[in-house]
Symmetry: C2
Subunit: 357 residues, 2 copies
């Protein structure tokens, strides 16, 4: 159902925070007429100032309304927008879909014009100042059509395409289960693990390696934003957390009772599960081939290595720099498409790089 067609007509963006203003800038970049509204007039002024559109006036009749408010407010604002603009397509950018959309319908939103949206993009910053026209470029943007008419669903597809995104249709409930599994529960697990470090001995934390760093990276995320998201998607997230907690308890019991087979099984299930993730580091055999280089302790070595790869016509898909005691160790892993690894190794060896076998 993805359409390459661009959006015509005017779009009202309600909520000129980071996502709303970025969306407005993306639409303006494509020449679309954008109207702006926010409970905070200062935010509208900043967005207007940044070229994101003009403030909504009473005479305006937008063709599409995008609600970019916090999850708690989105349903109410969508229902209201549906009443105020009885012909407009109404969509949102909330990261939880089913409860928000059914709440909007319960509050009187027109089901034929209500289409859920969730662009999978964001930044650590918030507010219109951090907004970017290219925030959604090449990003997944989940579209949940619900009971909406095809015309309105197509409008949202055009909106996504015009903003540079990549639309994927899903059922709203399905979406919420998916993000609970791949995003929301991992967020809580990362936080729970990181929280164990609070009371830990300084000497213990000091020997942390890359594994713990990777696992606790997202624990640094914005607490207010995440509390909001988690609360709205409470039940699906709680289910995943229960499953993981049960699995951890079972492994803890197996460890105390020295049930080696159970421990192996738990680890093997993890290996198999991890292989299902598209394009992750771990499944190098499936997606990427890895070439590891020990860089000399001279400035410019990283640049020299990437130049060697580029000169050999090889695209580096991903890179990982190992750290020891918080400092880079000089050990760098390059991930390339399978088949390119041999050529990359040869190109690096030809320039005297210390390639590890």
């Amino acid at each position: 159902m993805t359409s390459g067609a661009r959006l015509t007509g005017s779009v009202l963006v309600i909520g000129t925070g980071l996502l709303g203003t970025s969306l407005a800038l993306a639409l303006r970049r494509a020449g679309v007429e954008v109207l702006l509204e926010d409970a905070n007039p200062e935010h509208v002024a900043i967005a207007v100032d940044r070229g994101a559109g003009v403030a909504l006036s009473d005479a305006d009749v937008p063709d599409v309304v995008v609600v970019a408010c916090p999850p708690r407010l989105a349903a109410h604002v969508m229902a209201e927008a549906s009443r105020r603009f009885p012909h407009a397509t109404v969509t949102d950018v909330t990261s939880v879909k089913q409860p928000v959309l059914s709440d909007a319908l319960a509050q009187g939103a027109d089901p034929q014009r209500l289409v859920g949206g969730h662009p999978m993009a964001g930044r650590e910053v918030s507010g219109p100042v951090g907004a970017r026209a290219d925030l959604f470029d090449d990003r997944l943007w989940i579209v949940t059509p619900g009971a909406a008419d095809t015309d309105h669903v197509m409008q949202v597809h055009r909106l996504v395409t015009t903003c540079g995104g990549y639309a994927v249709e899903m059922d709203a409930t399905d979406h919420d289960l998916a993000v609970a599994l791949v995003s929301h529960a991992p967020q809580v697990i990362s936080s729970a693990l990181a929280a164990q470090l609070l009371e830990a001995d300084e000497a213990h934390v000091r020997i942390a390696g890359q594994g713990l760093r990777d696992m606790t990276r997202i624990a640094a995320s914005n607490v207010t934003m995440w509390s909001d998201i988690l609360e709205v998607n409470g039940s699906p997230v709680a289910d995943v957390l229960d499953h993981v907690a049960t699995s951890l308890r079972e492994t803890a019991d197996a460890l105390r009772e020295r049930q080696g087979a159970d421990i192996s099984d738990a680890l093997s299930a993890g290996v198999a599960g991890q292989l299902r993730i598209p394009g992750k580091h771990g499944a190098a055999a499936e997606r990427y081939a890895e070439v590891t280089v020990q860089l000399a302790d001279r400035s410019g070595e990283l640049a020299r290595m990437f130049v060697a790869a580029a000169d050999a016509g090889i695209n580096v898909e991903d890179v990982r720099i190992e750290h020891v005691l918080g400092r880079p160790s000089g050990l760098v892993s390059l991930f390339v498409l399978p088949g390119s690894d041999v050529a990359l190794s040869a190109a690096l060896l030809a320039r005297d790089f210390d390639v590890r076998d």
Copy 2:
């Protein structure tokens, strides 16, 4: 207690797998006399062939014995080595210390000559073929002196230094608690999360982002090796897992009961805990400053970017390439020392890179 002095005398390495052969190669690199022994004569032959030393003969009397066997065998082999060579310093490279060392003592190892060791280095591969002389360069190497004489502890410090490592003394029990927290329990948690993906819908897994990728990367590790390690360090690991499981259950309950304050508290504890890790991405404010660049979809852009940084005299400490649907999205984050970020942004802007604010 770390000494810059190099090791003199001869070293017997028992167990010529990845770690043992790497250690032997590192010692040979420094000109130390190395003797080799392994239950598998083929492994000894490969190690000798790689220049890691010579096979032990009956007349040899090593000054230091390093036991590099799997955790299950280490204690027995150490006790035996202590008897066979009544004047030698006996140490090991096992990643669990207290149970292994007390077991070795129980089996008759001489407490005055027994010093625990744990080099924090490893590779995904195993066996002598994957061994590297530089495996321990700049790596932490935990030394647990126990009741050993200072002379023997100093010998192990010299061994570490000679291999290129960085010795840190810890109590054996303390070491096991530390690695349970920062390494062993995270391994199980990563596996438990990844295992949730096994039964998941293909469409759900497909929208996985960088967060899940990072959190499940180590789930791809070697099952046999990790089962062994976890079993030997069972009780401390089980305790950490229980704590995390309890925390996850509490958050699940808070989510079902919509206790927003409890959810916030759990996330806030994670933010604070994560800040304690030295040199991780998340604590950018503390350690590194981040500069984010949207690369154009042309080959060689990554190389051009690193050259721009190098030309400006700026060391890139870490790099992260964002992926969407398993493909690089062109969004690259560079981590530099605080203060260098402004100069890096300017240098990149001067070469027309699209630096995000």
